[in-house]
Amino acid sequence: MSEVQVTKSIDARGAYCPGPLMELVKGIKTAQVGDVVEVLSTDKGSAVDIPEWVNKMGHEIAYLENEGDEFKIAVKKAK
């Protein structure tokens, strides 16, 4: 997605443990407000898990795409 500037991309494909969401939590913690952290995941649970955590923590989903079994989810750190 060209209009979103990704600050950091995390390749969590094939990761079961600690898992894509845990990698994202770690990524968001070290990011600055306004940064966009993208996660690549092959775990279809990520499409549910990640938005759920993001909403709960008050961040924003910049985009959520999938191509076959692969998900690409970007999160903007809001606070």
Partner: protein, 378 residues
């Protein structure tokens, strides 16, 4: 010219790699074609999974500690030094002395950061350090009533350990008759009690059956040790009588100071070759990598198999064809007497085995076999 292999860090991964290389390259080492140097900043080798058993006073600390010298093969050049700088351009590492290498294996581990949250160091217990496990042992034994709160931050090693702690605590206090006066509350940063769905589903019925309280989406931001409250990202306050924390981990200080890691000090690593990204002569193993897989001793064990095979291929002029497939194996203690276990890799998700006393016994046996594993025999 002697080919110099330097292994930095003599924990589980570094010791295994050094010993496996020494066992397989005996002739080359004797002929001085190859030299294997292992750099350790400590003379003691501690089997970290033992911390959980120290905390419950199941075994004394010494049971899990050996002298590094006693574990290392005679063909390994073991040196004690605290490396400060890793210079991949000059192909050397530097502490009190300098070590030039042809191939470097970074095995400097991951380290709990008690300063990652304000107030944590003063306010919390932990079982991720020897001192912490011993203090926890004494304070758990002395605790008669009150609320134990468990908090977990990311990244951390051994993703199963906090869950095991909660389940073992329940059994420990049931056995000594204090369970009715002690509340156990477990928390987790995301929306279920473990990052792996099958593991969360394995543990949840136990939590419910055994009245282990839990809260999800629990992201610790501050601890006030005076008032004994933990404050989360949403501003809410959680009282505790004893706080047990698994703090966020960082890579080794030497990695952070050398600027070769990410912002947390983990080294960008190729997931199958275990080479540091953009460096053909640097391999990374165990907790030191940035790979999104469990930071566990079993991970280091499986990684050492392909990494050692590739280094040997390289030394003998063959192609490096061994591939690390992401394999991890973890025991899941369900109490002081029974356990489950999981194995998984990049392509196969975990499924907990049926909980049994036999698996608990198997973990106890592995705790003893570890030393053979570290020696590169198993």
């Amino acid at each position: 010219m002697t080919k110099k292999i330097v292994i930095l860090g003599a924990g589980s991964a570094g010791t295994m790699v050094a010993n496996r290389l020494a066992r397989q390259l005996g002739d080359e080492i004797k002929k001085r074609e190859v030299e294997v140097t292992l750099i350790s900043n400590t003379e003691k080798h501690i089997y970290q999974p033992g911390y959980l058993f120290i905390a419950f006073n199941e075994k004394p600390s010494e049971h899990f500690i050996r002298k590094q010298e006693a574990l290392v093969h005679r063909h390994v050049n073991l040196v004690y030094d605290d490396v400060e700088k890793i210079d991949v351009e000059k192909k050397m590492v530097k502490g009190k002395k300098q070590y030039q290498y042809d191939y470097l294996v970074v095995a400097t581990g991951s380290h709990p950061d008690l300063d990652s949250v304000p107030g944590l160091r003063e306010g919390a217990h932990n079982f991720y350090t020897l001192d912490g496990a011993e203090r926890l042992r004494d304070d758990l034994a002395a605790m008669e009533k009150g609320k134990i709160l468990i908090t977990i931050d990311v990244p951390h090693k051994c993703p199963a350990a906090p869950l095991e702690l909660a389940l073992m605590l329940d059994d420990y206090y049931r056995k000594n008759g204090r369970r009715k006066d002690i509340e156990i509350k477990y928390s987790y940063p995301i929306g279920r009690i473990h990052s792996l769905v099958p593991v969360a589903e394995w543990a949840l019925p136990q939590f419910e059956k055994r009245d282990i309280k839990y809260e999800t989406f629990f992201n610790l931001e501050e601890v006030d040790p005076k008032r004994k409250v933990a404050i989360t990202m949403d501003g809410s306050e959680h009282h505790y009588d004893m706080l047990i924390t698994i703090p966020a981990h960082t890579g080794a200080k030497a990695v952070l100071d050398s600027g070769i890691g990410d912002e947390s000090g983990f080294i960008p690593t190729n997931r199958t070759t275990l080479k540091m990204i953009d460096q053909d002569d640097v391999y990374v193993i165990g907790d030191a990598t940035n790979l999104p897989i469990s930071k566990a001793g079993s991970t280091a064990h499986y990684q050492s198999e392909s990494l050692v095979a590739n280094i040997i291929s390289r030394l003998t002029g063959r192609p490096e064809t061994a591939v690390y497939n992401g394999k991890v194996a973890c025991f899941l203690e369900n109490s002081l007497e029974d356990a489950s276990m999981i194995t998984f890799d990049y392509n196969n998700p975990p499924q907990p085995a049926e909980t049994s006393d036999l698996l608990h016994w198997f973990k106890a046996v592995y705790n003893e076999l570890y030393w053979l594993n570290a020696k590169g025999i198993l």
